[in-house]
Amino acid sequence: MTTVLRYKFELGCVLVLVLAFVLTQIGVNNFFFFAGFAVVQFVMIATAWNILGGYGGYINFGTAGFLGVGSYTAIALIQWSDVSIVPQIIIGALMAGLLGLFIGYFTLRLRGVYFAIATLALAIVLETFVNNWDFVGGAAGISILPPRNPELLGVMIVDRKGAGIFDNNTEFLFFLISAMAIFSVWIARTIERGKLGRGLNAIKDNEEAAECMGVPTLRLKLVATTVSGSLMGAAGAIFPNYLTFVDPLTAFNLEFAINALAMPMIGGTFTWIGPVIGALLLGTVQQIAIVTISSELNLLILGVVLVIFVVAAPHGIVGWFMKKN
């Protein structure tokens, strides 16, 4: 029994994943998976953002840049030789991780608002680059046709006639992003509870004191940007398959950057559950608003909610509850 309790988080992860799988098998309306994908993708993005932003205190405004690199790596791979989705995600994550390491090395000497501005510039520079890269569609964008009957290790994944594990691509992508989001949350929680997380917290509290207390601050921050960036890249690499049409405006949309920092702040930045709660809550509200009111209302909702939380609950929902107890 104690072993079970010890691994209750891991068991919870498995349970959620099983639940996601069961949902795809019982004939739920397909729109649920389409909207659900967007919400779960935000869980992943917010969790990734929080590794650097929440634990380390470095506000990254360049989320869209990392997502875009993931998306366009996937597109380039498809254009190059129809690489399948799993390698797309892995290579997308690697590229975004490398970008994180590179950008981190040059910008992590900047603090506070200067770091934020540098990361914001990153997204814009990358968008301009892709705008001028015809191989991946340039400014006009590109249509991606998901493979009709994808297979993985000889197993048929999607088949409309029921011969595959999933009946359609949306169900498959929903399951895949769920698995990736759970993996991200597991990574974030492992970091948070380990030496790295405690070091990052010390950096957030006082970087100079942390360095003088033996914390290799630059190395820790580089690890954080790399891990955070590669998770964002993975979340971006799956995007072309979901959208089927990608243009730079969508892939590098600033709305991602705003959501990525608003969700952890609303949920609570100091623990892994914060970004998850924030993303599930805000993501769901936004999806409902898109259907019932208008897609343009999203940013307004986000802004209002963020202002309310910054004023009324600066430590987010998690912080609010912890205080109550």
């Binding site: 070091g199 917290n201 010390a202 006082n206 004191a209 360095e211 207390m213 290799p216 601050t217």
Partner: protein, 241 residues
Amino acid sequence: MSDPLLKIESVTKKFGGFTALSNVSLKVHTGERFGLIGPNGSGKTTLINCISGTLQNDGGEIFFDGHDLNGMKPHQRTAAGIARTFQIPRPFHSMTVLDNLKIPIEYVSGIGIGQSEIAEQAMSILETMGMAEKANQETLGLTQIELRKLELARAIAAKPKLLISDEAMAGLTGNEVDEVLEILIGFNEQGMTIIMIEHIMRAVMHFSQRVICLDAGELIAEGKPDEIVKDKGVERAYLGV
């Protein structure tokens, strides 16, 4: 005499056109209690920053325990055995007092040991400092003396060979100063070399075996405490006469 633990040779530090340290040389021996005095703006903290690595000196060399410190990052210098406190306490404010001490233990003095042992070691230092009952308190509610003690305790948790205490007693009452002095002398008796920067003359003169005085970035006097207080140059630096 054996090689000094810390050897500073003609260290110079400039901020633009302003020379904060010019050609400062000094030696600190193992087990010594060393006082560093000088009027405000004389370069004491700059010298400490150059030793701990938060600033890189522009000229000269610093050797510590066989290491050439030039180019070494602050965390590498801490790993080599130098720990410092800050003039204005800089606690990790999102952590409890105990967790503050765990950071240098986990990253420097107790690499690879388990969490429960880290907590034990941190607790034992807090007990020595008389702060055990504050262990699980947030740092935000601490008083001035508690913050100063935490600053010292956290540096001591790195188990340094050389502890640099930068005005650990500023703002404390007479009794509190005695309390901190007693703690520092206790650690010195266990073999820790200590450099003390202090404005409270009574404390630094009582504590130090040897004192140097900086003025306008230059070393103007060096000697035993009673020699330093009689030194004409020191008098001039402080009183301007």
